[in-house]
C-alpha cells in the first residue's frame, strides 16, 4: 500500500501524519517541540517507523510550519508549503466545500477564506505573541484544573459573565476580579471563551465574510466551550475535524501526494534520517554590519543547509539541489 507523510514543525508542537491513497489518516503523532525541532522530528520519525505496517511504502513527503525548510531538507520533502495553504487543503479535504477555516493554535491564530475550493483571503494575528492556546493552558493551571475540563465546565454556564478580553493581561485580571465578586466558575469560563472569540473575530477576522461550512481547527478546537462561543457569535454551525490538531501535517501530506503523482518520483530520504546525526549550529557573520545570525544544519560533520543571511553570501554558497517551492 502506498502512503504519504506530512510533517508540521512549529515552535510549540511537531506533528506527523501518514495518509493512504484516499487521504485517510493511518497514523498521526503530536509531539511538543520543546525548542529542539530536529530531535523532536527524529523522535517522531522513529515512532512512525516503529508503527509502520510492513506492507506500506512511503511514496512522498511534505513539510509545513515555521520549521518547514529545516524539516524539508532533513527528510527530502517533495513539497514545502506554508501553514495557510496546508490548513486550507486539509480542511477542505475533510469538509468538502469549506468556505471558512478558523484556526487557533498555541502561538498563532488565523482565518482562511476559501471560495470555490481556493484560498481567496486570509489573515493571521498581527502582533500579540501571547497565543490563545497557551493563555488558556495558563488559566487552567491557575484555577487548578486540567485543561481537558475547561471546555466541559464552560458548557455548564447559565449566564456567561462578560470578561474584558482585549488582551491576555486584561482578561486575566478581569477574571480574577469576577472570581472575587463571587461569580461561579462555569459562567466565568464561558465568559472567557466568549471574550477570546470576540477578540479573535475583531483582530483576526476583521472585515472578512465568514460563511458556512466553517471548520474550526488547531489545538484550541479541543475546547467545546470555544466551539459553543463561536457558534453563538457567528450563528453558524461549526465543524471540528477528528484530527483537529494535526491539520497542517495532514495538508502537507495531501499536497505531497498530489505532487508525487504529478512528477512520478519522490525525494523522500526514508525513515533512516531518524538515526542520522544532524545538528544545528550557527554563527554571527562579521562580513558587514548586518551581523546576521546564520543558521547551519550539519549532517555528520558536513553542512547541508544554511540560512539567515541577508545578503545570500552563505545560503548561496551551498548548491541547493532541491528547489524550495
Amino acid at each position: 500500500m502506498k502512503a504519504y507523510l506530512g510533517i508540521d514543525v512549529g515552535s510549540v508542537s511537531t506533528n506527523l501524519v501518514l495518509i493512504d491513497e484516499q487521504a485517510h489518516i493511518i497514523e498521526s503523532y503530536y509531539l511538543r517541540t520543546n525548542g529542539q525541532p530536529i530531535l523532536t522530528l527524529q523522535k517522531g520519525m522513529r515512532k512512525m517507523a516503529a508503527k509502520l505496517p510492513m506492507k506500506i511504502t512511503v511514496n512522498g513527503a511534505g513539510t509545513t510550519g515555521s520549521g518547514r525548510y529545516l524539516a524539508g531538507i532533513i527528510t527530502g520533502a517533495d513539497i514545502i508549503k506554508n501553514e495557510i495553504t496546508t490548513h486550507a487543503v486539509a480542511a477542505s479535504s475533510i469538509v468538502p466545500g469549506t468556505k471558512t477555516v478558523l484556526e487557533i493554535g498555541g502561538q498563532d491564530s488565523k482565518i482562511i477564506i476559501l471560495r470555490n475550493g481556493v484560498v481567496s483571503d486570509f489573515a493571521m494575528n498581527t502582533v500579540c505573541a501571547a497565543g490563545t492556546g497557551s493563555f488558556m493552558d495558563q488559566q487552567a493551571s491557575r484555577l487548578n484544573m486540567p485543561i481537558e475540563d475547561f471546555g466541559p465546565t464552560a458548557l455548564k454556564a447559565k449566564t456567561p459573565v462578560r470578561i474584558a478580553g482585549r488582551c491576555a493581561v486584561f482578561a486575566e485580571s478581569d477574571m480574577i476580579h469576577k472570581q472575587q465578586l463571587g461569580y461561579n466558575l462555569p459562567d466565568i469560563l464561558a465568559g472567557l471563551c466568549e471574550a477570546l472569540v470576540r477578540n479573535y473575530l475583531n483582530n483576526v477576522g476583521k472585515g472578512k465574510e465568514i460563511l458556512a461550512p466553517a471548520v474550526f481547527q488547531g489545538g484550541v478546537a479541543a475546547n467545546v466551550g470555544m466551539k459553543k462561543a463561536f457558534e453563538k457569535a457567528l450563528g453558524l454551525e461549526i465543524n471540528i475535524p477528528e484530527h483537529y490538531n494535526v491539520m497542517g501535517a495532514l495538508g502537507a501530506a495531501i499536497l505531497a501526494r498530489e505532487e508525487t503523482i504529478k512528477t512520478g518520483i519522490s525525494n523522500f530520504k526514508g525513515f533512516s534520517v531518524a538515526n542520522a546525526k544532524y545538528h544545528a549550529g550557527g554563527f554571527e557573520c562579521t562580513g558587514c554590519p548586518n551581523m546576521c545570525e546564520v543558521v547551519e544544519i550539519y549532517k555528520s560533520k558536513k553542512v547541508i543547509a544554511r540560512w539567515g543571511d541577508r545578503c545570500g553570501k552563505w545560503s548561496n554558497s551551498i548548491a541547493q539541489s532541491e528547489k524550495i517551492s
Binding site: S66, I84, D108, V118, D121, V127, C311, N316
Partner: protein
C-alpha cells in the same frame, strides 16, 4: 561639531553628501541592526512605535563613534513623530549623553524656510553653496531611487539567486563615493551598467505588488524585515508607494521639482474612503492602494509599526477598498517582537494567493 542623524533607508547617503559638501563633519550611525534595536528598546517607552526605538539606538551608537550633534526632523499634526526629536533628546540627556539637538521642521509655506534652517546649521555659508549642497543631496537620492527601481524589477527575474543584490550594493557604493555633484552622472551610468549586467529571464511571469504604509517602515529595510527582498526572491515585482526623492520633493521642497510622482496624487485618490488628513501617511496609504488597483497591480501590502495611529486608521478602512476594487491587501504590523519566520509565512501565503488570481486572469484574458 560632528553631526549625526537617524537612519531611514538610504537617506544617510543624501544627508552625508549634503553636509560634507558644506564642510560639516558627519558621523552617520552604523547601519541599523539588532544591536541598535536592543539598545533603543531598552531605553524607549514600551508603547512608542518602532521608529522611536531605532532612532534612539542610532544616536547611542553614533555617540560611541564620536557624534555630538543630532540633526533631526520635526513635524506637526496628529502623528506623534512631531515630538520624537524632543522625546529622544530628553531620554539621551537622562542617560548622560552630551548631545546638541538641531530640529529641522518641514517648511510650512515656502522652501526658503528650509534653506534658512540648513544655513543655520552650517554657520552662514553663502546661499549658492547651501543651494548646491541641497541639490547634491537630492540628486543622490534620485539616483539611488532609480537604482532601487532597477533592483525591484530584476530581483524576481534574476537567473542567479542573489545576483541583483550583489550588483545593487556595488552600484550603490559608486554613488556613495561620488564627492562632488559633477561626479554623480558618471557614477550613475557606471552603476546602471552594473545593474544591467544582472542576467534576467524577461519572460518569466511575475506578480506585481504595491507597498504602502508609514514612511519610515517603508524605507528602512531593517524595520520591515527586508520585505522587498523576500518578495523579490519569491517572484514578485515590488513598487514602493513612497521613494526618498519624492518624499524630499514633497516635504522639503514643497513640490518644487515637477514631473515626479507626488503624494498629492495619492491623497487625491483617497476619497471617498478617507476624506481628510489623519496624520502620517494614513491618507496616502489608502490613496496609493486605490491607484495600485487601478493600475492593475495584483496585490498591496501595508506596512505599519505597531501602535502607529494613522496607519491603524488606514488598516481599518483597507478591507472596504480591497473588496470594492477587488485587490487583495495584506497588512504587516512590525514591532520589536516580529519574527522573520512568521513574516515569511504570511508573505508566501499572500504570493500563493496572488499567483492563483493571476493565473485565473490569464485564463480569462
Amino acid at each position: 561639531m560632528k553631526v549625526t542623524f537617524p537612519h531611514m533607508g538610504y537617506l544617510w547617503i543624501s544627508l552625508k553628501a549634503m553636509l560634507e559638501y558644506l564642510g560639516v563633519e558627519v558621523q552617520e550611525p552604523p547601519p541599523t541592526t539588532k544591536k541598535t534595536l536592543i539598545l533603543g528598546s531598552k531605553h524607549a517607552p514600551e508603547f512608542a512605535c518602532l521608529p522611536l526605538k531605532l532612532n534612539l539606538g542610532n544616536f547611542m551608537e553614533a555617540a560611541e563613534m564620536g557624534a555630538d550633534t543630532i540633526l533631526m526632523a520635526g513635524g506637526c499634526g496628529p502623528c506623534r513623530f512631531g515630538y520624537y526629536a524632543q522625546v529622544e533628546y530628553a531620554i539621551l540627556q537622562d542617560l548622560g549623553y552630551k548631545y546638541q539637538l538641531v530640529v529641522v521642521e518641514p517648511p510650512e509655506k515656502h522652501i526658503s524656510e528650509f534653506l534658512a534652517r540648513i544655513r543655520y546649521i552650517t554657520g552662514g555659508r553663502p546661499w549658492w553653496q547651501v543651494i548646491n549642497a541641497i541639490r547634491f543631496g537630492y540628486i543622490k537620492a534620485r539616483v539611488v531611487d532609480d537604482l532601487e527601481k532597477m533592483a525591484q524589477w530584476r530581483r524576481p527575474r534574476e537567473i542567479i539567486p542573489g545576483s541583483t543584490d550583489q550588483a545593487f550594493s556595488a552600484a550603490l557604493q559608486l554613488i556613495i563615493e561620488a564627492r562632488h555633484p559633477r561626479d554623480v552622472p558618471k557614477a550613475q551610468s557606471q552603476g546602471t551598467q552594473i545593474m544591467n549586467q544582472v542576467q534576467v529571464d524577461e519572460r518569466k511571469p511575475v506578480v506585481k505588488i504595491g507597498i504602502v504604509g508609514e514612511i519610515y517602515t517603508l524605507l528602512e529595510p531593517f524595520t520591515n524585515l527586508d520585505v522587498e527582498r523576500h518578495l523579490g526572491r519569491m517572484g514578485a515585482e515590488v513598487n514602493r508607494s513612497i521613494c526618498l526623492s519624492e518624499w524630499i520633493n514633497d516635504h522639503l521642497f514643497m513640490g518644487l521639482i515637477k514631473g515626479t510622482r507626488s503624494s498629492k496624487e495619492a491623497r487625491r485618490a483617497a476619497p471617498p474612503y478617507l476624506n481628510h488628513f489623519v496624520g502620517g501617511h494614513g491618507q496616502e496609504s489608502i490613496g496609493s492602494t486605490v491607484l495600485y488597483a487601478k493600475q492593475g497591480f495584483d496585490g498591496v501590502i501595508q506596512l505599519l509599526p505597531f501602535t502607529c495611529m494613522p496607519e491603524i486608521v488606514a488598516q481599518s478602512i483597507l478591507p472596504g477598498v480591497s473588496a470594492d476594487l477587488d485587490i487583495p491587501v495584506l497588512t504587516l504590523v512590525v514591532d520589536e517582537q516580529s519574527g522573520e519566520a512568521g513574516t515569511i509565512t504570511r508573505l508566501e501565503a499572500f504570493i500563493d494567493l496572488l499567483n492563483r488570481k493571476y493565473q485565473q486572469k490569464e485564463v480569462l484574458a
